[in-house]
Amino acid sequence: MRAYTGRIREAAKRLLAENRVDVVIGFRKGTIPLMNEPYLIKSVDQVNQLYWDSNCGINLANYLPKRPDRVGIVAKGCDSRNIVVHILENQIKREQLYIIGVPCKGMLDRRRIMAERNGREPLFAEELEHKVRTVRYELDLTRDRNYFLQDNCRICTHRNPVIYDELVGDLVEEQQVDRYTDVRKIEAMSAEERWEHFEKLIEPCLRCYACRNACPLCYCPTCFVDEARPQWVGKSLDKTDTRTFHFLRAFHVAGRCTDCGACERACPVGIQVRQFTKKMEKDIKELYGYEAGVIADERPPLDTYRPGDPEPFFK
């Protein structure tokens, strides 16, 4: 995937030089290994800082809502789906965008690498063909890159961008996977077990809202968690407040979430918040046959209806 860097720079240079866009949003190398940072450039002399490898898991669509200018944006499969969602929700116009599509083979989960290294951060990391190597003094570790993939990337079925103006490489093969094994596992538990399961899952939550901030869908001027009158969610760390937050967050992204994994990636305590959103995703697919951000001219599932929609429990 590192070969993409050259193509991204080339595209950015051309776009800026020809004045096709005002800014280009991409990544640059972070200051520590395994962390790249979003980078917004406005002039041609900055293009050589643009960078791409398997640590670009942040969702760049997050930087688009309500931008007035013309934007070139680097987008992997999930980013492109969130761009489609933004267009549907009138957060940005297609004409404003020049999408530099990146066929993706999955992003690395820094936590998995850390765990494999007994919690010690590497001082150096490099990507080889199909492998990742991390080094710090005594421990020089090389492993298959698939071993370290983010959870959502393992089950991703849209690795290729769904919309783009140009591609930085050949399209990759899409995976044929069952996306919902974990959801079904939870569904099979008893109500009490399920309550306990989620109680444990969210117990370490700090309510820092990093998961919300990383999510491209969370662009409301005032988030429900910040509303005070009426106050829907208490500000405390009480379990019920945390539960309410996670519950409503999941509901709020229903039919919009692309399972990009940015939320999970951002969580400082490693909570698998996608366990909530994936249930919504599964239900929406089963009940309404809808997948978020894939088709550009279909209304989102909660913004439409069919006369014969299922109503299993309505009296």
């Binding site: 077990e193 249930k279 309505f314």
Partner: protein
Amino acid sequence: MSEWEPKIVAFLCNWCSYGSADLAGVSRLQYPHNIRAIRVPCSGRVNPKFILAALRQGADGIWVSGCHPGDCHYIEGNLYARRKFTLLKNLLDYTGMEPERLHFSWISSAEATKFAETARGVVDAVKTLGPARHFIKREAEVA
């Protein structure tokens, strides 16, 4: 515990279900007093936040009722609501709340008997479950 009576918050749409409650009253039909009716313009107006708020403030059960599909005063409000509540109920079940605490129905303003019957059904279902504790804060419980 034998004294315990559930509190049910009922969101009733102005044009149909609230009318049926009214008619039930005028017709002297009996239904349990556990129902706390809240009149809303349309079942589509009921935000999932309202339902959580009710649970957080001590409701033992929630009942949302609107016009029959096709009869909505706003043409389609209840059809959006149907999707919203289906997903909401599924997510509540999934995260471990008893499904019998949440009820939805379509009742027109002429169906006073259906209103009274459904009300009895809802109260019975919630009564069997006992008080809802899931969304109640610990401190609040002591007080």
